[in-house]
Amino acid sequence: MVSSPSFILEVRDLKKSFPGVQAVDGVSFGIAAGRCFGLLGPNGAGKTTTIEMIEGITKPSSGELLFKGRPIGRDFKTSAGIQFQATSLQEYLTVRETVVMFASLYTKRADLEELYRLCDLTEFLDREALKVSGGQRQRMLLAVALVNDPEIVFLDEPTTGLDPQARRQFWELIRKLKSQGKTIVLTTHYMEEAYALCDEIAIMDHGKIIARGVPDSLLRQYFDTVTLVLPTGGPALTAEIVATAKEVLDRPDGLEVRTSEVNRTLQALIASGRDLSKIQVRSSTLEDLFLHLTGKELRES
């Protein structure tokens, strides 16, 4: 097979089985240099296994992995930066010592002073690495991933468990990396994160990619609808209302009526005498797309 020259990273028919589980089942995608690629899916979808096979941490059962058109080999480690989902570091070392230690494992190194500034570590550089806050810790681990000035950076659920403010601070950092021209592979189960950062996404479930594309065009492709959210506890929907809807879903935050004919649905709702003072109208999100494709909530695991 000839590789497409426009891709910095290409994955072809990647498979991994563990005893009793097909964790990754024929995944293929290509990422253009300088883009942010999001791998989305619930826990256990196979996202981490997929990127760990690319990183060389897990051995694939089968499939092809190409970096700049060549099969990925040992030296890929020098071009890649990796932030795992869960990493513990050595005890009693400071943030600075930790970063320096990792930097000295590489021949090609980033300017560390610049890296501290980029990742906003300067205030707690001399604190013990295991005693910093969750957000600081993730920024330090990102700095560790960047010590070799990598061309491609893998971030595995970097904002899981962070509070909203720390999460947004981390997003800003990822945007800075993008502006430096680095290629980013991000896994997440936060749809708003993917929407905010990724140029392209792939949604995974049960080890397979079930949809792929630019977030907005994916949404347009699957949805020409608007969602009306009715608070729970009202009377049952009349047959007239249901007739105007494409889909009616009973979800935790209310009854969702998905319609492409908003005017007709609203008129039917008014005609049914329902109290609409608490109605919410929203356009479809990646969350809806996921539900539509898999029939389950993204964060159900």
């Binding site: 941490i57 795992f84 869960a86 990493t87 050595q90 005890e91 009693y92 230690m101 000295s104 494992l105």
Partner: protein
């Protein structure tokens, strides 16, 4: 293999260890406490038993009554071991030596002139031999300073401390690194398993050598123990022993993921060594199978060599069998350890 990578992992591990004050303090304090405890417990106290080395088969008519006296421990020796046994008598490791006469019937015996036990045993022997046969009993003497129990014990204690520090220090640390995912993070870098393992070995080796040297000096100031051999020879044994025990720790830590399981395996290794490698008591006089089993343990060779140097003034050449055994074991452990090593 890149030296800089090795050096940086080594430096990081050293910092981690040196800043963990409680564990560092324990590494120094434990052996000193043990030695102090023993020097008090054994000060001025002799062992209860008379220990008699019986070489070949001495005339039963003359010796059987003597050897049936209670509270006498007999140690059987071959004819060829006579000279060695007399050396042991010199050092008070046996109290009395009994052997057949060189020709015809009769007995030969040796005692250490500086030992009160020898004097008593001589009286007992002569008392048990009929008046008429006294001429058939020939006396020999040796003289030599007594090796106290604490002189004998010190090498065992230092080696035991080394064993715990090597096995638990290396074993637990690597298993913890694996469990927390630190090893997986290192796997994502260009670091090779060999570089990582060598860094762990050097870090622990440096520690073991310094701790042992400091503890040795400390103990020497507290309890003036005997050191007859050369410090250089002892140092070589220390290095060979440390390397061997650290490598054994690496084998244990090579693939285990759970600290509890690692703890179990380490206990399974250290306890038999603690009791069967001659730390507390000499294996001499034990059943042959015990002696053979003990040779499997690296600690037996470390203690054997160190003790020979310290209490007998043995040279490196004389302890070469032990040093070679340690070297061979180290090689086997290292090859095995890096072959089964897993980052995850």
């Amino acid at each position: 293999m890149k030296l800089e990578r090795l050096r940086s992992i080594l430096a990081a591990r050293n910092k981690e260890f040196l800043r963990d004050y409680s564990s560092l303090g324990w590494n120094f304090a434990f052996p000193v406490l043990v030695v102090l405890g023993f020097s008090f417990a054994f000060s001025g106290r002799e062992q209860d038993l008379f220990k008699i080395a019986v070489v070949a088969q001495p005339d039963a008519a003359l010796s059987s009554e003597f050897l049936q006296i209670r509270h006498i421990q007999k140690v059987d020796k071959q004819e060829s071991e006579l000279q060695d046994t007399l050396q042991r008598l010199k050092r008070h490791q046996v109290d009395f030596v009994l052997a057949p006469a060189e020709q015809g019937s009769g007995l030969r015996y040796w005692l250490n002139e500086t030992s009160p036990k020898g004097y008593l045993l001589e009286k007992l022997l002569l008392g048990s031999v009929p008046e008429a046969a006294r001429l058939q009993v020939i006396k020999g003497t040796v003289a030599g300073k007594e090796i106290r129990y604490v002189d004998w014990l010190i090498s065992g204690l230092l080696a035991m401390n080394m064993m715990f520090s090597a096995l638990f220090g290396v074993g637990y640390t690597i298993v913890r690194y694996r469990k927390t995912g630190f090893l997986k993070r290192l796997k994502a870098t260009p670091l090779t398993p060999m570089e990582f393992l060598l860094a762990q070995i050097f870090s622990r080796l440096w520690l073991l050598v310094s701790v042992t040297a400091i503890v040795y000096t400390g103990c020497h100031l507290l309890v003036k123990f005997t050191m007859l051999g050369s410090y250089f020879d002892l140092f070589v044994v220390l290095i060979a022993g440390s390397l061997c025990l650290i490598s054994l720790g690496l084998v244990v830590a090579a693939a285990i993921r759970s600290e509890e399981f690692a703890g179990g395996v380490l206990n399974l290794l250290t306890w038999p060594m603690m009791f069967l490698s001659g730390v507390w008591f000499s294996l001499e006089g034990s059943p042959n199978w015990v002696i053979q089993v003990a040779k499997v343990f690296p600690l037996t060779h470390v203690i054997g060599a160190a003790r020979a140097i310290m209490t007998e003034g043995a040279t490196l050449g004389q302890v070469m069998p032990q040093v070679t055994a340690l070297g061979a074991m180290t090689l086997v452990f290292l090859v095995l350890g890096s072959a089964i090593f897993k980052w995850e």
